[in-house]
Amino acid sequence: MSSPDRVAMKHGAGGRAMRALIEDVFLSLGGPVDGVGLSAMDDGAALRIGDQWLVVTTDSHVVQPIFFPGGDIGRLSICGTVNDLAMMGATEPLGLTCAVVIEEGFPREDLLRIRDAMKRACDEAGVTVVTGDTKVMGKGEVDGIVLNTAGFGLTRRLVRDNGLRPGDRIIVTGTVGDHGMAVMTRRRDLQIEGDLRSDVAPLNGLVRAALDAGGDAVVAMKDPTRGGLASVLHEFAQKAKVGVLLDGPSVPVNPEVLAASEILGIDPLVVANEGKAVLGVRPEAAERVLAAIRAHPLGRRAALVGTALAERPGNVILDTGLGRRLLAESDGEPLPRIC
């Protein structure tokens, strides 16, 4: 039973409880900015610099286990931050920072492995680490390693997450549930073996292609990390005060992810992704934006999966193909330490 005077695991799950914690505790640290500030709780902040925006974002990574099929904490730390910048339209990052907190006794070999993965991810994204910080804590005082990365970039074209209007179409750039399920199979207690791989990848190239094709017709964009596609759709619906109708059968899901989700009783729609984006697009531009995304190697399985509605503002409705139900707003990511 949770105690109101102590922080609980749910406060890190990316859902309602976390937002409440931020609102109650941290929001007062913000202030008026010329641009997008703390109160917007978007993927990053955007500060006006002349006729451009300086986009800034930061993320801490505590994924457990640190090495998982398809990736590791290093790759995650680079891609997560590159993607947050990209989600706001900053697809050419100027640089990243990297602060590490390492547990005493952490194997140097693992550290080098993480470093190599970060280098590869930086090369893919076309970015470098420009500064950082290093701390070591005693054995047992921190779990293995915690990585924080911050990123910054300039853009003339700022994309928010609140621009949906009734009739707008929703695109997801590929299969959902891969990252969360892959991390889960590596956790010892679940006794499941399977060929599930995380999708962790830098999306800035893909987003650039989408924005070049759609321009101002791309009115909302977010990456479905903690809480999955469902969380993003709820944010879109609530911030724009529209309803969203999600067509279940058109959401791309890998068969292995589907199988794991059946066995574990966890819906792929609410599970974290680390190499996918969700876009809200004006209907006249939807097909050409979809085509541009599909032409990119990371977007081959992209699909049109939903539509914004005037009815039921703030709600997400799932058409299951056999019936319909409300997609309840989850309390965030069902799996702890997923990113």
């Binding site: 959401v251 589907l258 056999l322 319909r324 139900r325 309390d331």
Partner: protein, 379 residues
């Protein structure tokens, strides 16, 4: 979900067949000519299939498909949880199925006991609990065995295969047909037909429902867990109600037979016996609990230990708990939306009642899958 690479089994989610079955259901209910027609199912997994696929949006408005006491965690009474909590406090390593972790006892749940330093482990099968006992040979490991008869068979099999000396079972198993009898005898519920749980019927066979159907005048249909299974079973059930035939029909023939799994039944009754017990929210259920037989006293945690619940038990004095409607919900008299706490003070991360704790509880399922708004004409 994208239906590429659709294996044969997932044909039980074919939208065209679903539409046809929904239309057939509409016709049958109309032919009965009354409203509402009340039918009850007694399995959390059936409610999940219905809620998850949004089937209530395609059920006829005159058909009321109600969930009964089909959630084993939900019906586990407070004193039983207190026994497990007490054992943890006494220093035993308590193994439990995940769902049971957050079920409130009089003062705390097993999850709370864990936070307070007790040794509580979540397991996914009884075999895993035995492995835990082997891993800690110097500790007493107690398996808090919850679940209905299908799950009890697994516990029986594990005991019959032989367990280490430091292993014992705290049995909280329950027997669903006994609960169906209780609900049928409640005049306010007015249930005209029942959908029986598929997996339990795999073990028990469908024949055991024949006397029940004859006595109550309510037909019983055994259904599988895919959405088409549920729809087809409802069509059959409503047809039997319309024709006033208090019979049993098996709509899950790929898994359920008349006599069921005889070897599994033998194992079950070799280890367990039915005794009357209190079910949370439903009071006395004659022959509703499954206790270890006297021959198994040597692995019965209640015999091996003197479990003193005084320090952890007591009367539940809780203003919120007083408003909880779980009992009425499990008896099919109310639905989760009727509860003033639903979705507000009572949520999965802060449950008041048992129905919100378990993944098979009506409240938790409705909360997860969006409840019962009318979505027929949207979009």
């Amino acid at each position: 979900m994208a239906l590429q690479n659709l294996p044969a089994e997932l044909k039980f989610r074919d939208p065209a067949r679903a539409r046809a079955l929904a239309q057939a259901l509409e016709r049958e209910v109309k032919a009965i000519g009354r409203t509402p027609v009340n039918v009850m199912h007694v399995c959390g997994s059936h409610e999940q299939a219905i809620a998850r696929f949004g089937l209530r949006a395609v059920f006829p408005r005159d058909l009321s498909v109600i969930m009964g006491p089909g959630c084993p965690v939900c019906v586990t009474d407070t004193p039983e949880v207190d026994e497990a909590v007490a054992l943890a406090a006494m220093g035993a390593r308590v193994c439990t199925y995940g769902d049971m972790l957050k079920l409130p006892g009089a003062q705390k749940s097993l999850g709370d006991a864990q936070t307070d330093g007790g040794k509580v482990e979540v397991v996914y099968s009884a075999t895993q609990a035995v492995e835990v006992a082997k891993r800690y040979p110097l500790e007493q490991v107690v398996f808090f065995a919850s679940g209905f008869e299908t799950t009890a068979v697994a516990t029986a099999a594990v005991l019959l295969a032989g367990v280490p000396d430091n292993f014992s079972v705290l049995s909280s198993h329950k027997y669903v047909p006994a609960a169906m009898e209780v609900v049928a005898s409640m005049p306010e519920t007015n249930i005209e037909g029942y959908i029986a749980a598929g997996h339990a019927a795999i073990i028990t066979g469908w024949e055991i429902f024949v006397p029940f159907a004859q006595k109550t005048g309510a037909p019983v249909v055994v259904a599988g867990f895919e959405p088409l299974d549920v729809l087809a079973a409802l069509v059959k059930l409503v047809e039997l109600i319309k024709d006033k035939r208090p019979e049993v029909a098996n709509m899950y023939p790929r898994c359920v037979t008349r006599e069921g799994n005889k070897p599994a039944q033998e194992k079950l009754w070799k280890v367990f016996q039915p005794v009357s017990g209190d079910w949370r929210g439903i009071a006395r259920v004659p022959q509703g609990n499954l206790d270890l037989r006297p021959e198994w006293a040597h692995v019965d945690a209640r015999k091996r230990f003197r479990i003193d619940t005084n320090l952890v038990g007591g009367q539940v004095v809780n203003a919120l708990a007083a408003q909880c409607l779980c009992g009425a919900i499990m008896s099919g008299l109310k639905n989760p939306h009727d509860c003033s706490l639903f979705g507000k003070e009572c949520r999965p991360d802060a449950p008041v009642g048992a129905c919100m704790v378990s993944s098979e509880g009506a409240c938790r399922i409705w909360h997860q899958y969006g409840g019962l708004p009318d979505l027929r004409e949207v979009g």
